[in-house]
């Protein structure tokens, strides 16, 4: 991770701009290549020696060179120098203990010679083997998959992470109008134990204000780490702008980065899978629904007051502006179903229908919860495999 002294950023009109390196920039690319060549030459050396060598070669260079070295070193590995286990080491200690107990050695060297003789090893092996497994003595192995382009991208990501680590919220404006892509983003927000509020924006997408449970309380929290871990998911969106209130050199500033900075995610997110049967069912529903109802698919992110917006599969609107939301839960969505019922129950949204595959209802915990859910005036649509259009029609007609 980049440390404070390696951070390269500027403040322009209250906006913090990390000084990203461009992979196509000749100077940056050469510098990255130089770092990688240096590390390749260090292959097989003691890690402690590589650290010292790196300090003498790059210590007096600018912070970009040192930063690239730091990032590349984090990608490297260290392997055990020689096979030497803790049990053998312990035996050596016991042997040395016996020799020392003789108390006849006036200097350290004569004591060491006596220990080496007792263990039938030479003095050099005694020195080299004893602590060969500690980090400084391990053998340096640079990461061969790290190219200059990757290194530059990794350096840029590290610059952003540095500021996120001390932040307690971020706001990301997403221009994607296909709301299906928000589903996995919301899933990751929940995975990282973060909260989000969705606000529709001018571009037809949504702006997500993301924070942690304790963000509203200030003080010591670990929200920054979660935001930094989550950040990679934003990079998977097609068009985005992120703003993070933070501090730089004791000044309150806003870190602002966007898709135009061309940061590349470490992992590509796969598109959400929508089963063919579900697509077919929705098409049929759109065509067949009666009584002035119109079916819209994935068109609204709703803040239900649980800290995590929900994206119902269907929004069914009546010409009298009555709205009914429908979300499908298949047999592999047990956990999500319990969460959703809890959320909907707490917020009292009577027009949010959970459509549940019957085998899920037959399971103990969900069964009891569904009972509580319907008793509090909420709607559940049961189906086997896939609901029928008639089932949906029936339930929307019964909506208050």
């Amino acid at each position: 991770m980049l440390t404070k002294d390696l951070i390269n950023a500027k403040v322009v009109k209250g906006q913090l701009r990390p000084q990203f390196l461009l992979a196509e920039d000749f100077v940056s690319k050469s510098l990255a290549e130089e770092v990688l060549c240096f590390l390749a030459e260090c292959r097989g050396e003691r890690y402690g020696d590589v650290l010292k060598k790196g300090e003498s070669e790059f210590g007096k260079r600018d912070k970009i060179a040192r930063g690239l070295l730091n990032v590349a070193m984090n990608w490297a590995e260290q392997v055990d120098a020689k096979e030497f286990d803790a049990e053998t080491r312990f035996e050596w200690f016991l042997a040395a203990e016996e020799v020392r107990a003789e108390r006849v050695f006036t200097d350290v060297q004569s004591f060491r010679e006596a220990v080496a003789a007792r263990l039938s090893v030479n003095d050099t092996d005694l020195s080299n083997l004893l602590y060969s497994d500690i980090e400084e003595n391990r053998i340096f192995e640079p990461n061969v998959s790290l190219t200059s382009t990757l290194l530059i991208n990794e350096y840029n990501l590290n610059l952003v992470s540095f500021f996120l680590l001390t932040a307690d919220q971020l706001v990301v404006q997403l221009k994607d109008t296909e709301l299906e892509s928000y589903r996995s983003l919301i899933r990751y927000i929940r995975f990282h134990e973060l909260y989000a509020e969705a606000i529709p924006n001018k571009e037809g997408g949504f702006t997500l204000a993301i924070s942690g449970a304790s963000s509203v309380l200030g003080g010591a929290n670990r929200v920054g780490r979660r935001l930094a871990n989550f950040f990679g998911e934003i990079l998977n969106a097609s068009d985005w702008v992120m703003e993070v209130p933070t501090q730089f050199k004791s000044r309150k500033v806003t870190l602002r980065i966007s898709a135009t900075d061309r940061l590349v995610p470490r992992h590509r997110r796969t598109r959400s899978y929508v089963p063919e049967e579900l697509k077919y069912f929705i098409e049929r529903l759109k065509e067949s629904v009666r009584g002035g109802w119109k079916v819209e698919v994935n068109t609204e992110l709703i803040n239900v007051g649980s800290g995590s917006p929900v994206l119902p599969d269907l929004r069914i609107v009546n010409e009298t502006d009555r709205v009914c939301y429908l979300e499908f839960f298949h047999k592999w969505h047990g956990g999500a179903l319990l969460d959703r019922m809890e959320t909907v129950r707490k917020t009292g949204m009577k027009n949010y229908v959970v459509a549940v595959e019957r085998s899920l209802i037959e399971k103990g915990r969900a069964k009891a919860k569904i009972g509580e859910f319907t008793n509090s005036g909420h709607f559940v649509l049961e189906y086997r495999d896939f609901p029928s259009v008639a089932d949906v029609q029936k339930i929307v007609n019964s909506m208050p």
Partner: protein
Amino acid sequence: MIELTFQHGTIVVRGSSLLDEWPNTLGLKYDERVLAWRGHANLYRDVVTHLSQQKICFSDQAKSYEKIQQLKLAQEITPRPHQTQALKHWLDANGRGTVELPTGAGKSILAVLAIARIMRPTLVVVPTIDLLIQWQRLLTTYFGMEIGALGGGENNLRDITVATYDSAIIHNGSIGPRFGFVVFDEAHHLPAPQYLLAATGAIAPFRLGLSATIERTDGKEALVYEHVGPLVFKGRISDMVESVLAPYDHETVFTELLPDERMRYEAARSEYLSFLRKHAINVGGPQGWAAFVKKASFLPGGRNALKAHRLQKEIAQSSRSKIEAIWKILQSHGGERIIVFTDKNDFAYRLGTLFVAPVLTHQTKLKERKLILDAFREGRLTLLITSKVLNEGVDVPEASVGIVASGSAAVREHVQRLGRILRHQPGKRAKLYEILSNNTAESSVSERRRQHDAYQRSH
């Protein structure tokens, strides 16, 4: 009806209106994201007390523990007078408070007595894995039941569990509501921003902070008092020596730098000092060191001054004549259990390699730590070298000689190191050596770290 829940180190109070006054006065804030009041989990006790006193009906879904009905000591404890007194003061403070007792004065036994009295699922939070193992062993002995462990690769929650600060924070989401009583061992660590969550993120109404040196140079012990409880009892080393702690002697050994070391030392020191003079930095003043580091980060020559400072310190701390001096001390205390303390791991490993002796650092794996510490306690090994991991808490009563080969100026570190050799044993007289490079900055460092009442008395 009001509903209390626990979420990621916070408590959420639903069912109380935004216009209500009481949540505000208790320190809760209205969270519009979830349309409820929210506060750090440590406010749980205040909230529950308020609701109960005001006879407000509430559903408590935050707490996920019950009183332990069958918790008895498997081994009788006859507390020493200072332990009885400390326990009484802590109970009088409604089971929330901090106790400062010198190393070896029985802080762990005090915690055992408190756990037996409170009878709530208990989490003991410790700074190191060595202490985790030690506490687990002690609690198993006294309660005769399985004690859980969280940290060092273990994740086993039981009614009484020992966790490292790091693990307690990582698992805060799941353990925060699970325990009614939390014991913070070496509680002076708590004010570190990354550790504070261990206290703020737990709902435990009962809290006990233990430390031999609660006062911090930054004055942040106030945070311990705020989140754990006030200082309810303080025992001094000078009052306990010869009653519960071993008597001890202290000797300073001065060594000379070798000519080549002296030359490098003077060159590095002069570069460092000239930077300080040029930019009028007084490192001895309040925030002096922070000012130096800050200025060194952007002023020309700053990086070199920092490097020079590091180099001159390293030369003084690990000179070759120090090694000879340590060897002489080792030879003169044959058969006694000796711990050598260094400031840096590098020097510890250098000594370990030269003396073919075990070195304990953060890199020593759990299994090997156990092996080495057990052999040391049994007397199969008589020499241990460590940088900082043995500074605190680890119980090695058999150690009677301590050699401070190098260290920081922190009073706490020095007192804690002294504590390692002061554990009482019949007929034991401990000795602490401090080895200093003559005519170097180490002398002033030594003076500063000895400003504690343990050193104010003559021996």
